[in-house]
Amino acid sequence: MTGEPYNDTVRGLFEAPAHAGDLDGGTTVFLADHSMRIALSARLSQGNIGALRFRAWGCPHFIAAAEVFCADYEGRPAADLAGFSASEVMQTLSVPVEKTGRILVLEDAVRSLGQSVRGGPDSDQGRQ
């Protein structure tokens, strides 16, 4: 590894992830592999995403990416979750290409969250 591995955005989001935590009464999905774990929680309000929270175990880019997702998608229609793309987040955070797989895990988690919330506001289809 040479030079600065994290841009200022990653550093800021890693240091103070505003959306870290849990949601009471929300829908939560969980995904894990050997190098990361993620729990995403959403609470809907009239078809929109009223609140998003995450918990993450992984590298700083992964944690920052989870925060970027939560910040970007709060207030948007729940249907938008299906359109979340890892590539945009990777560009924002200057994620090294060798970490693509990690951000794709987040993408899978977001899509899983989208499927879960479409099952109903109280749906909880956590999977591993």
Binding site: R11, F14, F30, A39, R55, A56, W57, G58, P60, I63
Partner: protein, 392 residues
């Protein structure tokens, strides 16, 4: 003594040390037109003045190690010394046998030479450490064969600080007429080493681990009938042809000055470093899931290596900023694979990837360690609070 930068706290002295200002002054005085800059191989007066600095430096380093100055060969650093010792000795004794012994926990500067020799037809026995990182003496003795020519075991492990019993290993080597090489990059100038009594044939060292400059090292070659090496480089015939090339007088003189300072301050340094390491361990030992890597009984005072359960190593390193610490050997910190040294100690991949090496130096203060231990505890708490629970 060195200035402490307020933007970071340096606790990576096992990777390298700052040049002591007294050493820097010696070096600076030798590089320009007003200094003794001439080629020490030149026979004119300027060359002889330069050569005198080289001889004085050899005397100084020899005094630190209690060996003869003529038994020291100047190199570019410990990596070159390791290469020269191992490949050079293996080549010199190739007609007697091609079996070599080392440990899986050696520095890459050693293991990579042995791997290259394996490709060249040598047979290498790789000994695993015990759970504390120490060489199993019985397994070692059992591995020796009639065709064994060289054993290479490091003094102080650069990742864990585990310190091997050089006298015990060397005695066995002498009984079996096998050369004993020691990578002593971490220990020289910090721990007492008496080469007049230690049964060591070849010893690698470097200046930049003891407050000297980067770019200069030395190889000790014992003055014994069977202790010879072949050169790896060829050129001007300097240093009896064993390591030719124009000698960097300013770096060598600086190494000599660093050796003088190390000898004078070794006892105080050891007390200081031991106190800092113990203070650090006391400050973090109650962290749930923490383990100390490397046995405490054979631990080098300047290094504390710890792993912790269920923490991602890369995030831990960032959360620890402004601490400058290592996740393993700085020489291979670009490698994201879990440390092979820690894996050899029986650590799981998960524990190995969370390892942090704190290493302390002369400039480190009690307040620095207090800050570092609190920072470590806080980082662990924060990352654990951020992590999701595994669903039932």
């Amino acid at each position: 003594m060195m200035k402490i930068d307020t933007e970071f706290l340096y606790l990576d002295y096992a990777a390298t040390t700052p040049v002591d200002e007294r050493v820097a002054a010696v070096m600076a005085g030798l590089i320009d037109i007003d200094g003794d800059f001439a080629n020490p191989s030149s026979t004119h007066v300027a060359g002889r003045r330069s050569a005198a600095h080289v001889e004085q430096a050899a005397d100084r380093l020899a005094m630190l190690l209690n060996c003869k100055a003529r038994d020291l060969i100047w190199t570019s650093g410990a990596t070159e010394s390791d290469n020269l010792a191992i490949a050079g000795a293996a080549a010199y004794r190739a007609n007697r046998g091609k079996h070599l012994i080392t440990m899986s926990t050696e520095h890459n500067a050693v293991t990579d030479v042995f791997r290259a020799l394996e490709k060249g037809g040598y047979e290498v026995t790789w000994l695993a450490p015990d759970e504390h990182g120490l060489l199993d003496i019985d397994a070692f003795e059992a591995a020796l064969r009639a065709d064994t020519q060289l054993v290479s075991i490091m003094h102080v492990n650069n990742e864990t600080g585990v310190t091997q019993d050089l006298a015990g290993i060397g005695d066995i080597c002498r009984r079996h007429d096998v050369l004993f090489h020691v990578d002593a990059a971490q220990g020289v100038g910090k721990l007492p080493l008496d080469l007049a009594t230690l049964p060591v044939d070849l010893m690698s060292m470097t200046a930049h681990k003891l407050y000297g400059p980067k770019g200069v090292g030395a190889l000790y070659i014992a003055d014994r009938p069977d202790c010879h090496i072949e050169p790896l480089l060829f050129g001007g015939g300097q240093q009896r042809g064993l390591r030719p090339g124009t000698l960097p007088v300013h770096l060598i003189a600086a190494f000599g000055e660093a050796a003088v300072i190390a000898a004078a301050s070794m006892a105080a340094d050891l007390e200081h470093l031991t106190g800092l390491r113990d203070q650090m361990w006391q400050g973090i030992r109650e962290v749930p899931g923490i383990v100390r890597n490397g046995g405490a009984d054979a631990s080098f005072p300047a290094i504390l290596n710890v792993s912790v359960d269920d923490i991602e190593g890369e995030s831990l390193l960032l959360a620890l900023e402004p601490l400058c610490v290592a996740t393993g050997s700085a020489c291979n910190s670009h490698d994201q694979e879990p440390s092979s040294v820690l894996r050899a100690l029986g650590r799981s991949d998960e524990l190995a990837q969370s390892a942090i090496r704190f290493s302390f130096g002369r400039p480190t203060r009690v307040a620095d360690v207090d800050f570092a231990s609190r920072r470590y505890c806080r980082a662990i708490d924060r990352l654990r609070a951020l992590a999701p629970e595994q669903p039932a």
